[in-house]
Amino acid sequence: MWLVLPLLGLIIGAYLGSAVTFQLPAVYLKYMSIAVLASLDSVFGGIKAILEEKFDGTILLTGFFSNALLAALLTYLGDRLGVDLYYAAIFAFGVRLFHNLATIRHYCLLSFRKKRSMRQEYDGMRHGEYDE
């Protein structure tokens, strides 16, 4: 049931985002891409936390903003210093995305197998009863 939630949120957000006609100056495009990555990372982190039953809204939200802030700071600093420091943020977010996805996959697979084996056990029991 709750899997519909992120999809619904994404759709609502996408609708709002495409309705906006305001255009950002080209200089800030880098910052925007970092923000997109940070929020994607938060979504996956949130799904993971829900699966692990360790979800904490405050941690997730503060994590999102602190990550985005640090990434923006790195980007700004990189622009000043002439080093593309924002690659560091992209790299970190990318690695975390894959990591979170892997964890989510593990959880889903494990719970699926658990359910199946439980069902088989149940079926077996029923068969046993029937045979007797």
């Binding site: 985002g17 925007m32 929020s39």
Partner: protein, 233 residues
């Protein structure tokens, strides 16, 4: 798990918003290329200016024709002498179309070479302003009396200049193949260029031909002639 829903929904909406926003801006940026937009503007400006130049040149030509008519009205005595001197001076200055014996040199970019080595520097295969300048120089050494490149008459103040992909002759663009017409002694001129740059150009595999002609027409100089600072000493 219930209390996770609002926060998570907020994060999801934010993500969707950012994704869609970034997507639309990126799309707009891809379709709107500032550089090409500016280039298009520049191209139209150049075309407009070139049209204007052509118009002005036509005007100059008409006025010169009028002037010629007035100057060649029949008259007697000393004035007639002056008129013949003027006519001669005009021919020498390149203000009249001229006819005579001469040669036509045609030179083109080495397109076959360029196709054969697509990764090579294309500068090695195109005709440069220097090539034309050298050829014109050597024609003049061979005592050419009137020279035109692609229909543009060269006079004393003419320039040949590299402008990016093209060559400007007297502020007009000329494109390959370049045809250099020169009136003068064919033998002398061919000798002169053969001793100079011709071998070099042939070595670099530029398609170059030299034709002799008994009846070569070279147009008049179409541009403006102004001497603002020069006085007779």
């Amino acid at each position: 798990m219930r209390k996770a829903i609002p926060t998570f929904l907020i994060i999801c909406i934010l993500t969707g918003f950012l994704l869609a926003f970034q997507f639309t801006t990126q799309n707009k940026n891809a379709s709107f290329n500032a550089v090409s937009q500016r280039n298009n503007n520049l191209i139209t400006i150049i075309h407009d200016l070139e049209k204007e130049i052509a118009n002005q040149e036509d005007q100059i030509e008409a006025i010169r024709a009028q002037l010629n008519d007035l100057q060649s009205t029949h008259s007697k005595g000393k004035l007639q002498d002056l008129q013949t001197t003027l006519a001669k001076a005009k021919v020498e200055a390149g203000l009249t179309p001229v006819v005579g014996k001469g040669i036509i040199i045609t030179i083109d970019d080495n397109q076959e070479g360029m196709k054969a080595n697509p990764n090579d520097d294309p500068n090695k295969y195109i005709v440069h302003d220097e090539h034309l300048l050298n050829l014109v120089n050597e024609l003049r050494i061979g005592s050419a009396e009137a020279i035109a490149i692609n229909g543009h008459r060269l006079i004393t103040t003419s320039e040949i200049r590299c402008v990016g992909n093209l060559i400007n002759v007297d502020m007009s663009r000329v494109a390959p193949p370049y045809e250099i017409r020169a009136i003068g002694s064919p033998k002398l001129m061919i000798e002169s260029i053969s001793m100079g740059k011709l071998a070099e150009l042939e070595n670099d595999n530029y398609p170059i031909t030299i034709e002799e002609s008994e009846h070569l027409v070279i147009p008049a100089y179409r541009g403006d002639l102004q001497f603002k600072y020069t006085n007779k000493s």
